[in-house]
Amino acid sequence: MTSKLFDYAPAPESRAIVDIRASYGLFIGGEFVDPIDGEPFKTINPASEEVLAEVSDAGQADVDRAVAAARTAFTQTWSRMPGRERAKYLFRIARIIQERARELAILESLDNGKPIKESRDVDLPLVAAHFFYYAGWADKLKYSGYGETPIGVAAQVIPWNFPLLMLSWKIAPALACGNTVVLKPAETTPLTALAFAEICQQAELPPGVVNIVTGAGNTGRMLVEHHYVDKIAFTGSTEVGKAIARSVAGTKKRLTLELGGKAANIVFDDAPIDQAIEGIVSGIFFNQGHVCCAGSRLLVQESVADDVLERLRRRMSTLRLGDPLDKNTDIGAINSAAQLQKIRELSQIGEDEGAQRWSAECALPDRGYWFPPTVFTGVTQAHRIAREEIFGPVLSVLTFRTPDEAIEKANNTPYGLSAGVWTDKGSRILSMANRLRAGVVWANTFNKFDPTSPFGGYKESGFGREGGRHGLEGYLR
């Protein structure tokens, strides 16, 4: 499979449309302000290690200011505004995102390393749609079934894998319900959140309704532990999620958590195999596997395992890894050196524990953080690569013989975010869906997202739902 019929000429997206400032302050009370304390840090392009901008590291005094601004906006403006008017602000934001979609997609790919194909065709359309969807709820809360009263100031901390999309999942429902927010983007991907701050200004959103504080984990901790915060929404690791859950003990703070996953993608022998291969590939290699709901454990029925694996390897060898801004790129850069280190370590452990490692032949660029699409076979449930979230383009393959065995293995994890089922038999899909302990079950598809569709986990993948009517629950009382 190494001989290539065609080579792809480079098709890079121009970054001229993106205007990145040399440095950014914090967005508090409707304007960018210099931080009171804290040294600035640099955010880089993980595909080239080039410095993109300097960003503020918010300290306690800054977090205090941001929460105070959100509190003032909540009591004086936003919670008192008719839902009909809140809706129109959110519709404005949705429209501006649509108008600036190209620019935001490029900025996202620069700061995150994800292929432009994905930021352009997946992230940005979903971001705009999410605001559009929740805009429509703002004046319809009495039909939600969850009450109509906002909670107050929401502290929201989001990860680096879908920076702007996670922002939209957090901010859109919070604002629709009449809450105000202080959001902390991930340390390695702050730029689209800061661009979003400008969008709030363009939409003439009242000051303080949205506040963006940048920083590392410590800033996030100060934010969620802040005394004047009423609601916490966190997406990230299970470890940090548990720490937050401990910190809210004894307070009245409301909490929703969207944490890690180790999804089983279950392929039965009657599945449409070619479609299943595409689903397996998008399930684990979409966004370099930096997806909490990634189908990182492939459970394939023994009778078709050889066939599935052969086709999977063939398909993997056609994946193109490289410049995230190239429109032909399938696999972009790993988001950070630290994440690359973690993926390498766990992959080494996979080999050391006896699983067989295979990667498609692909040249890695000299600069930046890269990891080739990798599959491990001969994996058992005891292996760490079958138990721990790798959060990279690494697939572990296990086999099963019966549906019962598939369920047993699929549910044998502390996580419960998502699962996939591939079979031609509808009744089996529904029976598997009933028995899988996971918040989202994809049948004959994988990694599908929509603003109308609730998303969230069972067990240690967190609690609460984002998206859909259910996504309002966390922001109403």
């Binding site: 009909r84 519709f91 429509g136 529904l430 029976s431 859909g468």
Partner: protein
Amino acid sequence: MSETGSDVGESTRLSVRKTYKLFIGGAFPRSESGRSYVVNDASGNFLANAALASRKDVRDAVVAARAAVKKWSGATAYNRGQVLYRVAEMLEGRREQFIAEVAASEGVSASVAESSTDAAIDRWVWYAGWSDKIAQVVGSSNPVAGPFFDFSLPEPTGVVAIIAPQNSSLLGLVSVISPVIATGNTVVVIASEQRPLPAVTLTEVLATSDLPGGVVNVLTGKVSELAPWLASHLDVNGIDLSCAPPEQAVDLERAAAENLKRVLKPDHASEPDWNADPGLARLTAFLETKTVWHPIGV
């Protein structure tokens, strides 16, 4: 509307008047009958000649509405919401024109016309938001006592005929059209007989809002002449009689029974208060419920 008078001095400019026509299948035909009727303002001054639609125009409009059903009902709810929101955007851009037309048609003060025009714009926004939410409020999964996955979904009825409110020429009209198309139906509406001009101007908004041709068809003319043909038309699936003239409503409802049209009945002695919370009634009036059963098992 004629803002400059008929006596034209050398330095004044004669305004170019608009021809008020029908809106069928996305086009602006005159009535095939070649007829028109005089529309006056509330004080009895001449405003314009509006097309006096005929039975044939009704039938053409139904054909256009039927042809649009597949594409419009098949569009994603998200897409329909975007289009309805676009209507609000276009309406906002013509806000001043509508305020003037509403004031002239209804004989109300500028401030009343302004607030009802604003409410009409906001109503499009309200229903734009409903298109992808109504199924989440009125749909269900049904816990049947057996190994079945069972769920119920709303689906549009099809072609819906509407007799528009006679008094509220814009807000009332928008309030009866937008819920019906938000859910994927297509519409043939008879505009207010005495106050049809805002409806005709609305068609110019609809024509420039990415709304596929035929989704909304607007006829101007006599309700007493046109409504019976709509009520008895066998390719019309539902009819909104909530604003039908009382003396005709019963006959129309009886005619609608011929093919069991879904009927939204009048429930007010006079026109509803269009400024009130619209609720869900106009959304659900023209929805079918489809229930799907599927076995669960290995």
